[in-house]
Amino acid sequence: MVMVTVGLAAGTMILMAVLFTFILGWANRAFHVEIDPRIGKVIAALPGVNCGGCGFVGCGEYAEAIVLENTPVNKCTVGGMSCALALGDIMGVRVDVSVSLRPIVHCGARTVDRLGRSEYRGEMMCRTANLVADVQGCTYGCLGFGDCERECDYDAIHVIDGLATVDYGACVGCGACARVCPRNIITITPFRSNRILAVICSNHDAGKDVTKVCKVGCLGCRACSRISNLFVVENNLSTLNYAEYTEDRMTELVAASKRCPRHRLQFVGEGTGIVPVTMDDDRPDVVRADFKSTVDDTEWRG
């Protein structure tokens, strides 16, 4: 009886194993789907961080789009030029110059520069504060509650003195911050060089109204557009035409930035914003307490 039970148990398992193996083996051949082998290669060449900076859900989707739908290979903001070249080799296409996309925060007002601020006791998020009137006078500028900071997967944007500031050394240009900003003051801009000139304000109000709410905002005075036609002033706000922006126009751009009465034309990019601490910095490895300086040697008089 016991032997038969054990035998039957073992037999059942072996029979099921054989049966399922057979069925699955047959199904594998019968339901075989042809997949382009290049998809696997493209996935291997992509960084695999699934940031969505290319506009697709993840690296896998982008790889399928490259192979099956002939999507351009230079859309990966994380991999940059080297990744685009590797993908070009796999797909057999020539890679045009891939311009890196980086965010620019179009607001330059720190907390001290903002006027007309009221006490805000709601949720400390830009998305909710944006629904409330009079959190600050300026209805265009950075709110400084750091939705972008929380959204960033690369620790590349931080709120410093109430202003979102990009760390261009860490940024990969995935665009998460620009998507989350409720006031749409972060734009993803093509950086043709490491540093580019940008208009650091988003306020469309007339100059008189801007001076009431901000110490630094753009007045729409057209000083820049008189010097260079790259600047277009519409709705009291200067914008820079990046399609025409080239290195050989640099003299007029610099001249325009010097003429701006509110210093709103600033260079952004590597070395601006948050400057990362590098290993070369002359700092001691371990900071030890200096007891000499803490000894109180004040002489009491009187």
Partner: protein, 233 residues
């Protein structure tokens, strides 16, 4: 009439009263893990319903044909070695867990290959969920519940047929979908709430799940009332 009433009550019970997630607390990992977004939660619930129905019917067949004492297949094989009186006593229900997991994993594999070939859009929307629910405990729980109504039942009239097993597994999946979609809806709103720092993340999610389970306790006793109402006493 009573048969249809039974099936109706099994369905109501599996979907609402004894909801797998909120009454028995099985299938918590996907309930917490993929309930961030209503659309994704709905996809997960749909996939679980799909697999649970298939796995439930397969495991009902295996239990009835092989595992229970006196099952046709077992009795037939044992008949070669033992006399008929002993052959009907052979009980293979100890194998249930391993056999069910085996059957679930294989059927999920098979279903995945099948829909990949013939329904590519469905395959795309299931995505990663289909292989992920291979080891979902809610599905094993459905199989074991079905087994408890097939094996070791004293009155032969109470043994479940395939239709009852199907009702339990399909509506168990529906109950899972209801629970996970409600949870996802709450969690989407939770993103805009000022949660104390010590409760952020998994902690507040589990607290919400507990409150949700208490709300579902309100269904307790509905089944007996329904039975009285439907059968008239």
């Amino acid at each position: 009439m009573t048969y249809i009433t039974d099936i109706f009550l099994i369905a109501i019970s599996a979907a609402l009263i004894n909801n797998f997630v909120l009454y028995y607390f099985v299938g918590i990992c996907p309930f917490i893990g993929v309930s961030r977004n209503v659309d994704i939660a709905f996809g997960m619930g749909f996939a679980v319903t799909f697999v649970m129905t298939i796995a439930g019917s397969i495991s009902w067949a295996i239990t009835t044909l092989v595992l229970v004492p006196g099952a046709p297949f077992t009795r037939f094989i044992a008949g070669f070695f033992l006399d008929p009186g002993q052959a009907v006593q052979i009980d293979l229900t100890t194998l249930s867990y391993i056999v069910y997991i085996f059957a679930i994993a294989s059927s999920v594999q098979f279903v995945e290959m099948y829909i990949r070939k013939f329904f590519p859009s469905l395959y795309k929307s299931f995505g990663v969920f289909l292989p992920l629910i291979t080891t979902n405990c809610a599905i094993l729980f459905a199989c074991l519940t079905i087994m408890s109504h097939v094996a070791g039942v004293e009155n032969p009239a109470d043994v479940w047929g395939l239709s009852k097993a199907l009702a339990l597994s399909f509506f168990g999946g529906v109950g899972f979908t209801i629970a996970i979609v409600i949870m996802a809806g709450i969690r989407e709103e939770l993103d805009f709430c000022d949660v104390p720092e010590c409760l952020q993340g998994a902690a507040i999610t589990l607290i919400v799940a507990g409150i949700l389970a208490m709300a579902f306790m309100g269904f307790t006793g509905v089944d007996s009332g329904l039975r009285v109402a439907l059968t008239g006493g």
